[in-house]
Amino acid sequence: MKSTIPLVIGCFVGWFAFGELYVPHEDYRWVFEFLRDQAQILAAMAFILGGINVIQVNYPKIRRREADWQYKVVLLVGAVAMGTAGLRWHALGGEADSGSMAVSGTAAVGTGYATLAFDSADRDALVIIDGAPPVRAWHSGNPSDITKPPGDQALSVQLRPGEHVITVRKPVEGYAKHEVSILVADNEPTSAKYEILKRWVELLPAAAAVLPINVAPGQVVTVSTDLVMYWGAGSPHGRVFTWMYDHIFFPCNATMFALLAFFIASAAFRAFRARNTESALLLGAAILVMIGLVPIGRAMSPIFPEIEEWIMDTLNTTGRRAIMMGAALGAIATGLRVILGIERSHLGSD
């Protein structure tokens, strides 16, 4: 009873899934997709069990101070940190520098316009003026000049009289953006009258309205800000999450993958030995294909790439075909064993 009902359920949904190819009716599809959703939900919920399992396996080792327990702490801390970063708590990134705006009027940089300067630790920020294509904060204003050494200059852009919206954001997602509206007064070249109405950081995009500050021509407005990282996952991607992904997960992942280049060489050394006809064929084909694939082989003789192509087209295709066909038959039989209810070892016996 305890295993018969699950067996029946398994057979039933198994045949139902099998029938999906033969019944085009949309009601059938609907049920099928619903069942597939449930299976996916189940698999996803199992990740919670997976998490519990990781703790069950590692925590006792830490508690009992088994060998290498320190590393298990690293593992658990890494998992918890990444998992928490994945939560969408945007504001928890901390109230960093909210950004500021200073206007200096002494230097008569020019007449008829004010000058926008930028000063911030976040010099790799983009400055968007009135929705125009962003200028990089470190830019001298010439968009083609991308090799300019860092720290050389600050942004300096002319602002004509009128109202301008200045947005500062990071070129990568996951940061708050800083936005301000600047009103450059008309024709008051010598006036030192200015007012900072509000400094303001927008934590969530498209939040409150932008408040303007007044600047007179000839003055320099300096926008200065440290852009706050968003915390969490999702879109917009939390920066803490992406930071951990970019600088821990990605390099480790890529390096593990890169280890293969080394292991291939050592496997070739110790395993590709012509012990018998089979292994001789294996290594012979491997060498021919390897020579044919690199330019050096082509440079030696154009026959190598041709041999490589021929082996790939004929013998490799044949072997591939045989394995796919055999494996397909094995897989059909294994699948049938399950959905015919012949196989029940995954369901226990009592």
Partner: protein, 297 residues
Amino acid sequence: MNARLKIIVPIGVTIGVAAIAFLWRGNVEPSRWFTLEGPRAMYVAIVAAMAALLYYYLFRARRGDEIYIRRIAGVDAIEESVGRSTEMGRPVLYVTGVEDITNIQTIASLLVLGQVAEMTAEYDTELKVANFYPITMVVAEEIVKQGYTNAGRPDAHKPQNVMFISSEQFAFAAGVNGIILRDQPATNIYIGRFFAESLILAETGYLTKAIQIAGTAEITQLPFFIAACDYTLIGEEMYAVSAYMTRESRLLAMLKSTDVIKAFVIALLLAGAVFATYNHLAGSHEPWDLGGWLVGK
């Protein structure tokens, strides 16, 4: 059952089903509730023939007829290596591949795991199972428990030895590497679907002088397993292993029925090639396009 019948029945079943499918093609009007368009007729034929053969051989096996299965090198190796692990007092590591339970190779791997668990329970050797997906872990845990129960030692089963490592390919590889290096299993068994991590695992296993047995139907990874492991179950052999190991009637029946279909496939391939060559030499007229029929042209 007399000898002649033993041959006639499976052949009759296969050819009969194939003939029905052949006659059916195009004759079933596709409706909203049922369609045999394209290659579906052929698919149904294969599944129907396989199911019929399964039951036929199951019936014969239960009657006590002897069913012959040839040796598969990797299978004996599994038993030997579990014995060796016992002697050395080191655990056996079983990796179920990096695919979810959605893949039939994973399901096949889990079925083999059942036999391995039974074996380790009998030998009283520790069995560690590394899983890529939690759902696989849950099923693997149930299967291992069942294996220990079958061996009469349910108390020896340690649930925490069936582990979820990580669902990220190379993090998983790193985790399994860690187990290989630090728990020093004397036997590593990799059965299921594998990708690029295959060589990382197998080369690390080589470092610890473990006996390594691999099985996959993943063509791109087979060369790496063949190079780096002691035994490799190639493609279909992986599905056949559990049958050979237990010699249980239901599994032998499965092997037999796939073999009958395989023989039929070989015959079909030959016939198709002969017909096509004949057509080619005789000009363009095509009385029998078997290949086209298969894919539902």
